[in-house]
Symmetry: D2
Subunit: 148 residues, 4 copies
């Protein structure tokens, strides 16, 4: 998985809403987690990780979220959220996000997440199956190298 660092195989584009700004007149800190979530869901879909809403027996749950706020984002803008798996464990993995502001033409935030593969019936984490593991590896391998 080392090769995955610096590459982002999945990215989504989201328009900033005026109403996402708070009284300080830039986008509220909470909104970044919503943007990251949308990227995470897109990644889960592409890798087949996301169990459907009808089959909640085993699926990924979010154990930890980190946001590094680098530059304030304001309306109007469009952000691109890029996401990669950066570390694979037995029953968990780590993801990294990068938030690109079109208006600023700069990275406005970064983030990380710890995701646990969870059995909702048994109430405990379970090892990632080989199919999921393979799907993540294939998706990460598909990411073009990004110039440092």
């Amino acid at each position: 998985m080392e090769n995955a660092l610096g590459r982002y195989p999945v990215s989504i584009t989201i328009p900033v809403a005026w109403g996402e700004m708070d009284a300080m007149q830039h986008v509220n800190n909470v909104v970044y987690l919503r943007w990251f979530e949308s990227a995470r869901i897109a990644y889960f879909e592409k890798s087949g990780l996301q169990a459907g809403l009808d089959d909640l027996s085993v699926g990924p749950i979010l154990a930890r979220s980190t946001v590094d706020y680098i530059l304030p984002v304001t309306y109007p803008d469009t952000v691109r959220v890029e996401i990669a798996v950066t570390k694979m464990g037995r029953s968990s993995f780590e993801m990294s996000y990068r938030l690109w502001s079109e208006a600023l033409q700069k990275v406005a935030a970064k983030g990380d997440a710890v995701i646990v593969n969870y059995d909702y019936q048994a109430g405990k984490s379970v090892p990632l199956d080989d199919r999921t593991r393979g799907a993540i590896h294939a998706l990460e391998a598909s990411a073009p190298a990004r110039p440092a």
Copy 2:
């Protein structure tokens, strides 16, 4: 149901969050619907209307929402949302909200909703059963008269 007008049998109290203010530095217009929703759910619970999340066969759905913004609300404040059923139909009913600002000591907003009793399997509205109808009437009758 005429008697119900001007009485609010259910009310809830909610602290205003700083982050609910937008760039105009008062609470964003969207937040009022969240406050109204919380009052509606409290009413549904008290009257036994709210089907559990596991039993989604028949339950109330929101068909229409109206908000009248009277005075801007700002942090810090605590709002009290009062709610009543103001009109009963065969398979739908209407509710009215009143939002009281503790800081302003005034009514800061009013609202209305149309709720339809919906059969999710059949995909259509169905008449309110007698138990639900009776529960709403009992709840409304319990509301103290409010001085005009």
Copy 3:
């Protein structure tokens, strides 16, 4: 302004976020007001109505919002929010929204708003100036007729 009915001179496109769904597993009723707000801001910008955040002396304020929920929206989807001014008063005007779901290929919601031109210093509504009135008329006149 009669001609404006049925035409929407401004529209915006917004991806539905997974996290905007609530426990009923469709987009929460509150989110529609955020979508409408984004369309309203886009309209204000196009017509020059939106005062900058630094100049809050006179500007449009939202006095009333209505949402008619027609069909539930679920993730994944992209919505298009269309907006028009449907009625002009002396110091206020009315707008109508239409929410189109790409996934459903149907109108999923409609809405209305009453907007008041407000002098924040004086604390009261003020007549719309001729420049603003003209800009709205020009924008509405630019909308292609929509087949009924």
Copy 4:
């Protein structure tokens, strides 16, 4: 500041809103940052850190947020968010949050934040003045020791 660890001089209580649950039928991960923000603002107010909205020359900005999700929170519930400063730097400091669920009678989440004292005019971080530093120390010293 060592003594501050394990003590929370400021805490706030917030009712969980039904609409804060997502399609997984527990409170969405994003909401925790809103709860933490409300506790942070309460702390800033108590310590005199929060510059008013009219005086944005120098004030605290959020540089980093972390949330550790321990147990899912569901409606109905009331959460208590506790907050402490855990480390003081020259122009920044760290805070820790603990989220207590009344319904579960357990800690449902923890979190951390890095706050930078920022001069908005100069566009850079500036040292915390002695008054602010003293106010934080006094507030932390007032916290009762919490049994480990």
